[in-house]
Symmetry: C2
Subunit: 179 residues, 2 copies
DNA sequence: CATAATGACCGAACTAAATTCAGCATCAAT
DNA sequence: ATTGATGCTGAATTTAGTTCGGTCATTATG
């Protein structure tokens, strides 16, 4: 019987802290996940197997959720991007509303604090398709009103970055918070 | 001299229409770009080299912009997601404002129609870091005011999907548009 | 109508990368 | 000091990526 003895740590989620090399690896793979482990190892200062082991661990832990192709919206006939704010009667997150996740046009659904209940990011072929989506929203029980912000130009759009700004410049006039 | 004779079609951008197999390939690779070409070929009904050739073409044409690792925001200490609407004096897209793209917290910058000029998607460690980012925004010349929508829960968040909703159900009470 | 040219595909052969493994170094806990 | 666990390296092996010659279907051309 050759049962693995390290099953416990293989499936553990307890996201053990990422060290600087892990961050580097994430940074590289966010930019381009098609490179070889040899190349990756070179860039972060590890041998190919070591780099590979790190990446496997990052996948297992869930730090790397997926590796996916980033598609050009124009190439798939979706040049129109819009953010739709939805005001609902009662709590917004109903199964009826969630059903729109089936639409491949809908990329994000969030519930937000502020004067809106739900916030959608949608990408459509044209204004007609956006109208179609909005009409479907209005047919959904509980939807009171929507406000759409149609994107004119996108200046930056990128995946989650592994880096964090170390320190924010505190303006002089700003009081020091207790917490 | 062994100059390639098909340089013209090799570097052409003229995004020739995607056929159904291309769409299938995109769909598969958006879900998981780590599979082998053998596997990809199986799923779309092609041999490994044929699938590979398709993917290379999709990359060359720009339909596949990149292949990247999707990181879990929590794993990199960025549990707080917010959309920041910025009202500016004059035209919003100034070099000063664009400078915030350097912040790894900022994932998207759009100019939008509607009552806001610019729209940001930002992901920070906590409300403190968000405040730091906002304070930096207010230091930026031309920024008049901001409204932040802090995300409470994210129900859907995915990359650009290759599919398109074929037909939107037109409500009966809706007049038929001329265009 | 025949025929050349093109584009896309397949299978086989080859090259390169992924993956496994044994051995070693480091560190923490006993 | 000794044990155990972890993470690394370099070499060996397996698997996948890539190239290539040939075929077929489609379209343009004589």
């Amino acid at each position: 019987m050759d049962t693995e003895t390290d099953d416990i740590q293989r499936n553990r989620q307890p996201t053990r802290e990422l060290d600087p090399i892990d961050r580097k690896i994430l940074g590289v793979l966010v930019d381009d996940a098609t490179i070889s482990y040899a190349e990756l190892g070179d860039r972060v200062g590890l041998s190919p197997p070591a780099a590979h082991e790190r990446v496997k661990r990052l996948r297992r832990s869930g730090a790397i959720r997926a590796t996916s192709a980033i598609i050009d919206p124009k190439a798939v006939k979706k040049p129109l991007l819009a953010f739709v704010h939805i005001d609902t009667r009662g709590w917004g997150k109903t199964p009826e509303l969630m059903a729109i996740s089936e639409c491949p046009e809908v990329e994000e659904i969030h519930s937000v604090a502020g004067d809106s209940c739900m916030l959608l990011k949608v990408r459509t072929e044209d204004t007609r398709a956006l109208e179609g989506l909005l009409s479907r929203l209005y047919e959904t029980p509980g939807v009171v009103s929507t406000r759409s912000y149609v994107v004119l130009s996108t200046y930056l759009e990128r995946p989650v970055q592994p880096d964090i700004t170390a320190e924010w410049p505190t303006p002089k006039h700003m009081a020091t918070p207790v917490y």
